[in-house]
């Protein structure tokens, strides 16, 4: 049944584009909402059933082996949640009916593409679904078709293509040596291989995924892509796309195929720590709200990779938990950026200020998300960072643990700067007529903030049921 997560969005896109567009246009939003909510409910409440049962009609044609473990479960929940948020904002803010229809269709394709990335157990299929997601993301970034968004999209596609070349070259070499493409077969065949071409192929595969993750020094595309895309697309990119096409495959491939080794762990930890520090300090100097959030994403992805680099199961659990938390708090912040933009039409931190009085709901939700990013207890971000630091300490990486703790202080500094410059103080004369954003724009932020609070409060429960099982991915 898990194949439905890929097939249903594809089927819906085809159905919605039959020559009955007039009737289909009004229902496209509800279709994407329905399919994402079904995914959310199925994965949270009926995961065992979905993993084990097969639909007879599907089984005869689509009998693919799919990965259905704790890691996939977290990713599928994150994908559905962020897609719902992006669809809600796009439905409220994305231009005329035709453009909204096209946007939501691409959102359905990217939903299927991301689900494919997290479900496949084959390295070539992984590449195919990575490309679907990257191509859809390119269109979403360029959606406004102004000079800036086209530039952002162009940078994204250039970097993404370089990553693709590296991934494809690596896959070709691995197929040559192992004669197979499934994760299990690759893992068995690679073990004990002393050939330097195999080592080279592993290295370029990891570099390719680092480019897709936006890790420093491969981050050149990320701030431009995030800041120039439409708000709903920025939310999707920052919330889940980058994690699905970059971070998730890195975790999956390192864990299931290449295996942890001292050189791989050291490389991951070095680039993770460099991204944390660089992203945090770069965010501190930004004057544009979305660019600040983009650099913050580089820093937070650094935490995830640093945790993965521990090479321990606790580190991996911390990485996956932080992916989920990052999806929630970063999507919340980009949803707030959409709400602000819909009323003020600016992201310039110097021109904003005092919006908490005018937009109290947005201000409150933003404060919660900012504190969670900074890792302030008892919010969700604190728990995942705590696990990451414990994993670093337990694996004797004291230096990196100290970097992670100190960078949290810088994170707090730029998040408080954001909150102060946008929401605190007296509103400018230009802001006198500003009112709270439409409820449909606020709703995703409110829902995500509720998820954040729920995760924070229920952490002891989640630890036993959700996070510890991650150790046995």
């Amino acid at each position: 049944m898990a194949a439905l997560f890929i097939l249903l969005p594809l089927f819906l896109v085809m159905l919605l584009n039959l020559p009955l567009k007039k009737f289909m246009r009004p229902i496209v939003f509800w279709a994407i909402l329905a399919v994402s909510c079904m995914q959310l409910i199925a994965v949270i409440f009926y995961f065992q059933e979905v993993s084990q049962q097969t639909l007879p009609i599907l089984a005869s044609v689509f009998n693919f082996p799919l990965a259905m473990d704790s890691l996939t479960r977290v990713m599928l929940v994150g994908i559905a949640m962020v897609t719902i948020s992006s669809a809600m904002i796009a439905n409220s803010l994305a231009g005329n009916v035709e453009r909204r229809f096209n946007y939501l269709n691409i959102l359905l394709i990217i939903l299927g593409g991301m689900n494919g990335v997290v479900l496949v157990k084959d390295i070539f299929s992984l590449y195919v679904f990575l490309e679907i997601t990257a191509l859809s993301a390119f269109i979403l970034i360029a959606f406004r078709r102004d000079r800036h968004s086209l530039e952002g999209a162009y940078k994204y596609i250039v970097f993404s293509s370089i990553a693709t070349v590296l991934l494809l070259a690596s896959i070709a070499l691995l197929i040559l040596f192992t004669g197979d493409t499934s994760f299990a077969a690759l893992s068995t065949a690679i073990k004990g291989q002393g050939n330097q071409l195999v080592v080279f192929s592993i290295a370029i595969f990891i570099v390719g995924l680092m480019i897709k993750s936006g890790l420093m020094p491969f981050h050149g595309w990320l701030p431009d892509a995030y800041s120039t895309a439409p708000d709903s697309a920025s939310l999707l990119l920052a919330g889940i796309v980058t994690k699905t096409v970059g971070v998730y495959p890195l975790i999956r491939i390192v864990y299931s195929v290449f295996g942890f080794s001292v050189p791989v762990n050291n490389i991951l930890m070095f680039f993770g720590a460099a991204s944390i520090v660089f992203g945090a300090f770069a965010a501190l100097t930004q004057a544009d709200l979305k660019r600040m959030l983009a650099y913050s994403s580089i820093s937070q992805v650094g935490y995830i990779i640093l945790s993965l680099g521990c090479g321990s199961l606790l580190g991996m659990a911390g990485a996956v938990f932080h992916i989920f938390n990052h999806a929630v708090f970063k999507s919340t912040l980009f949803a707030n950026a959409a709400a602000i933009d819909s009323k003020v039409s600016s992201y310039d931190l110097e021109n904003l200020g005092g919006l908490a009085q005018k937009m109290p709901v947005t201000g409150t939700v933003s404060a919660l998300a900012c504190l969670s990013v900074a890792g302030i207890p008892p919010l969700a971000g604190f728990w995942s960072k705590l696990i990451i630091i414990l994993a670093l300490w337990a694996s004797n990486n004291y230096f990196y643990a100290v970097i992670a703790v100190l960078s949290s202080i810088v994170t707090l500094a730029y998040m408080l700067t954001l909150q102060r410059k946008v929401f605190f103080g007296k509103p400018d004369a230009k802001m006198q007529n500003v009112t709270e954003a439409k409820f449909s724009v606020l709703l995703p932020g409110i829902i995500l903030a509720c998820v954040m609070i729920a995760v924070s409060i229920s952490f002891p429960f989640l630890l036993g049921t959700f996070i510890i099982p991650l150790k046995g991915i």
Binding site: I6, L7, L10, V13, M14, V61, F62, F64, R99, N102, Y103, N105, I106, I109, G112, G113, G116, V120, D122, F124, S125, V128, F129, E131, I132, L135, S136, F138, I139, A142, F143, R145, L176, F177, G179, G194, N195, Q196, L197
Partner: protein
């Protein structure tokens, strides 16, 4: 046989360099077709006729035709722009030979002995078996790629054309 591979690879690299270094879009389109044609020859020699036929028909045939069709719809450079462009033609690539030379010297100086022996590959004789039975998941992916491309054209070009 080895010298033939080296020769074809050298021609392939030269064609690819021509494609990215030329300032004329039309020549770049033709360069792409030529690069694909050389790759096709390599594929035939390597005994992968099906991949070679795909490469020849799609990458060397169809895609350059689409590119050249689009290029004919663009405006040519004005005289002044063309002169500026010609002046900077090779400027941006000035470090390329130096980088290649540096890497070569580094490789020789470090005296790296590579263990890069390639294994023998067993081929599945029936390509249909691979495409329809083994790689069915990728076929679904291909359908999604095509749909994405169609929406890309709709979103990025259709409304511009309407204007």
């Amino acid at each position: 046989m080895f010298s033939l591979y080296v020769f074809i690879l050298a021609v392939l690299v030269l064609m690819a360099l021509f494609t990215i270094m030329t300032t004329s879009l039309l020549r770049a389109g033709l360069g792409l077709a030529l690069t694909s044609a050389v790759l096709t020859v390599l594929m035939f020699i390597l005994n992968t006729p099906l991949a070679a036929v795909f490469e020849l028909s799609v990458c060397a045939g169809l895609i350059p035709v689409i590119f050249i069709t689009v290029i004919t719809l663009t405006k040519p450079l004005k005289k002044l722009e063309a002169e500026e462009s010609a002046k900077e033609k090779f400027h941006r690539f000035r470090y390329l030979p130096l980088i290649v030379l540096f890497l070569f010297v580094l490789f020789v100086a470090l005296n790296i002995k590579l263990n890069i022996a390639l294994p023998n590959v067993e081929m599945e004789p029936d390509a249909r078996q691979i495409i329809w039975n083994v790689r069915r998941m990728d076929l679904i992916g291909q359908v999604m790629v095509l749909l994405t491309g169609a929406f890309g054209i709709l979103v990025l070009f259709r409304e511009i054309r309407k204007r």
